[in-house]
Amino acid sequence: MCKVLIPALLRSQTEGKAEVEAEGTTVGEVIRHLDVRFPGLAERLLQDQRLRPGLGVAVDGEISHRGLREPVRPTSEVIFIAAVSGG
């Protein structure tokens, strides 16, 4: 099971937990698994079958450009972050 760090504004969906475990081989599967345990979480993270605009995901410390398709290992750490661009 991978480790998922929950953003502060979503912790109301995870019974206040800042960190939870989840199954899945991709970020998309991890979210689907979490949504079973914490109904409504996927709706907060997704829009039109992809991460909400402005939201990014990092797996094992690397910000992903694959989004929901990013591979996840059982030892991985998944973090949802604000997508940031530069100038």
């Binding site: 953003p7 502060a8 504004l9 993270l45 829009q47 605009p53 661009s85 530069g86 100038g87």
Partner: protein, 762 residues
């Protein structure tokens, strides 16, 4: 063949021949002789002049736009208004500058129901002469229903504040409030127990800050030319940081397939984030089509640049930090209210990450709010959002250090993040050079030299920027004379032609002079993200490295076939190829290889591991107690470049960021009256620093290689603008005993603070 790769400990081998040298830039002669073509230099047969009618009001409902008199004017070829735009798509896309609602992008081009800022475009015309175009603008009648303007975040958040967008509801990470609001969104980063942290603090500093809207201040105004041909194919020549971003935005707002649009980049006279969003390009396309398929050129005036293109956000900030008696930070809290301008999209997300990123602290909370106000839509500006928040945080850190009698560098060393520590959003940091930067400044001649004299003070501040990777594409064509034509689509806004050509030369083992870089249009090179986010030397540099490896591999394979040997038997040395007693240099190999067939290789990369950047800065200032004028006596910037590909350009980026930061800190601000009209829409009144205002900015490049790049490169373009405002605020405090909490720290504001401290009543 030897292959270069970054080792896990970050060391880079073997020794580099080209990377780290300082060759002449390939575009230098054209630029100093005036031959280089910028946006306004494009001329075509039959070219028409375009002009834009802009709102005199900051907030109003548009009742009616009457263009009939203008259309009757002889010589006037086309008039367009929002009615000529296709319906705005109700969709959010990332088209080069982060996620944006396409309705807002479209509405910003030509106002539909409301004008939302002084300078908002309402109509555009094309005419055979500039005079006729100006005359036509004067003949367009617009009937407004004025509405009260909302100019600051604090005003916009009041319960009875007029709403800019009736349908806008605060989004709190996927959950929307029921009632409409001027607050577009809230974000929060939180870890640890903040209350416990503050209870353990020996000292707590709690301050509020204000920063004003500032502009990037690029010298070349926006300039775009479009030609729609009768067959529907469209060519756009424009000064931009991203040709593919322009193509995507034009395609989306005009409802066109990208295959019909070719975007040709001109040289660019500065961008700094401000030349990513489109303003003129879609208007030029519409006008060209309406004028009968003739080319139309639009060039902004300086006033239009200031009133109508995206500056960066003003902000209201609250910073509360606690430390124990040893100086260790035990609790950090920030509330960040960023003004997005007329449409959602301030850089508050980046600001929230930048805020406490340099510091280790178990308990922190950062709340960020994106607030719409009646100012032009904010766009990116060099490390967007970073300077505002660092001004506030670094001021509080300095105050804590002072109250604990700690040296400001020691205070930061006590709390400095290292590899594995986490940013406020919990993302762990890879190998970074922050501590090395702090140590380099502490050991510098500047910092070790005592500052003497009355009304003088020295300040220190630091900054973090995450950088970016993005997608890059490039092609390399081998010429029989041993040169390599190198085509990229990363527009060159800071010397990247040279730094990219150097990386290709290094990868191939040839001289820099053998590589001929060229910036291609959107039909010539595959997709490329914008030049921004400090990504080009890193990511397009990765593409250059990869091209070199591919080209050398193909040359090796062809030589092996010709020499009838196994490719593995061919060795590379000094750019040449050898097998047994056969040996050819690169030029000879090129001739042989090209005899068989032309050789071109291409690559597309999307690298991770872009490596965070840190900068630490130190300023000495003198404050005139009679006028409040701050003179910067001496300035040193230290920055971790990973590996400086072209040290002169790295130094230039460092100095440029500091120069802009000094202007932001000491003088620059948008000044509005109570009606929301911009009062200083010229460079006479919008006071950017000149050479007369700045000292020599000394640079110290620290090189802690980024393990995510074959040569250890980190982006260097942005982090340098983050610390200057905090650095100068801290220096002014040490000089005067006054701690300024608002930018700019202009003479009137400094003088008022000095008078308040002394009890003087003018």
């Amino acid at each position: 063949m030897p292959s270069l790769s970054a080792s896990p400990d970050g060391s880079v081998a073997p020794a580099l021949r080209v990377v780290g040298t300082r060759p002449v830039r390939p575009d230098g002669i054209d630029k100093v002789t005036g031959r280089a073509l910028y946006g306004a230099d494009i001329t075509l047969p039959g070219l028409l002049t375009g002009r834009v009618l802009r709102s005199p009001l900051a907030h109003a409902r548009i009742v009616r736009v009457d263009t009939s008199a203008a259309r009757a004017l002889p010589g006037l070829k086309a008039v367009v208004t929002a009615a000529d735009l296709p319906p705005a798509p109700d969709r959010i896309e990332d088209l080069g500058e982060g996620a944006i609602d396409l309705r807002y992008l479209s509405d910003n081009l030509l106002a539909r129901e409301k004008v939302l800022y002084h300078g908002h475009a309402i109509a555009a015309v094309a005419a055979s002469t500039p005079e006729i175009a100006e005359q036509a603008l004067a003949l367009i009648r617009v009937e407004f229903e004025p509405l009260p303007p909302v100019m600051t975040a604090s005003a916009a958040m009041k319960p009875d504040a007029p709403l800019l967008h009736a349908g806008l509801k605060t989004d709190r990470m996927g959950q929307r409030d029921a009632a409409p609001s001027n607050v577009a969104s809230q974000l929060r980063h939180e870890r640890g127990n903040l209350d416990d942290g503050f209870r353990r603090a020996a000292v707590v500093i709690d301050r509020r800050f204000r920063t004003e809207t500032v502009h990037q201040g690029y010298i070349e105004p926006q300039a775009s030319t479009a030609h729609v041909q009768a067959d529907g194919q469209i060519t756009i020549w424009t000064s931009t940081q991203g040709t593919f971003a322009v193509r995507s935005q034009v395609a989306e707002v005009l409802g066109l397939p990208v295959s019909r649009i070719k975007v040709v980049p001109t040289e660019i006279g500065g961008g700094f984030g401000g030349k990513i969003s489109v303003y003129l390009e879609p208007l030029a396309v519409l006008l060209s089509r309406h004028a009968g398929f003739v080319p139309v050129r639009l060039v902004m005036s300086r006033t239009e640049v200031l009133t109508s293109t995206g500056p960066t956000s003003g902000s209201d900030l609250r910073i509360r930090i606690g430390a124990d008696t040893s100086g260790k930070l035990v609790a950090m809290q920030a509330e960040l209210y960023y003004e997005a301008g007329a449409y959602p999209g301030s850089p508050v997300g980046a600001a929230a990450v930048v805020s406490f990123a340099p510091y280790v602290c178990e308990a922190m909370r950062v709340d960020g709010y994106d607030v719409v106000v009646n100012r032009p839509r904010a766009s990116a500006y060099r490390a967007p959002g970073g300077t505002n928040v660092a001004f506030a945080v670094e001021s509080v850190i300095d105050e804590l250090a002072e109250s604990l009698d700690l040296d400001p560098i020691e205070m930061r060393l006590i709390n400095a993040v290292r590899e594995g520590d986490r940013r406020p959003d919990n993302l762990p940091l890879a190998r970074i050079g922050y501590v090395e930067c702090l140590q380099a400044l502490r050991q510098s001649e500047h910092y070790r030299t005592p500052l003497t004299g009355r009304h003088r003070g020295r300040g220190v501040a630091c900054g973090y920027w995450g950088n970016w990777g993005g997608q890059s594409s490039a092609t390399a064509i081998l010429n029989p004379d041993g040169s390599v034509s190198f085509n990229v689509a990363s527009t060159d806004i800071g010397g990247s032609r040279a730094s990219l050509a150097m990386q290709l030369a290094e990868s191939l083992g040839i001289d820099y002079a053998q590589v001929k870089p060229r910036i291609g249009d959107t039909d010539s090179v595959s997709y490329n993200d914008v030049t921004g986010g400090s990504r080009t030397t890193f990511a397009t540099g990765w593409a250059a490295y990869d091209l070199g490896q591919k080209l050398a591999a193909e040359m090796t394979a062809r030589l092996a076939q010709r020499w009838e040997v196994a490719p593995e038997s061919i060795l590379r040395a000094g750019g040449g190829f050898a097998s047994g007693d056969r040996r050819v240099d690169f030029a000879e190999a090129s001739k042989l290889v090209c005899e068989d067939a032309p050789l071109m290789v291409s690559t597309t990369v999307h690298p991770k591991g872009y490596g965070a950047a840190f900068s630490v800065q130190c300023a000495d200032v003198e404050v005139d107690p009679d006028t409040g004028k701050v003179t910067v006596l001496r300035y040193t910037i230290v920055q971790d470049a990973g590996k400086a590909v072209h040290p002169s350009y790295v130094e230039g980026q460092m100095q440029g960021g500091v120069a802009q930061g000094i202007g932001w800190a000491l003088n620059e601000e948008y000044v509005y009256n109570e009606k929301g009209e911009l009062l200083n829409g010229s460079l006479l009144d919008y006071r950017m620093p000149t050479a007369c205002d700045l000292p020599m900015i000394d640079t110290i490049i620290v090189e802690v290689p980024n393990p995510g790049h074959p040569y250890g490169v980190r982006g260097v373009g942005e982090v340098n603008i983050i610390p200057p405002a905090g650095t100068l605020a801290n220096a002014i405090h040490r000089a005067t005993g006054v701690r300024l909490t608002a930018l700019p720290m202009s003479p009137p504001r400094v003088l008022a603070a000095l008078w308040e401290k002394s009890g003087y009543r003018p």
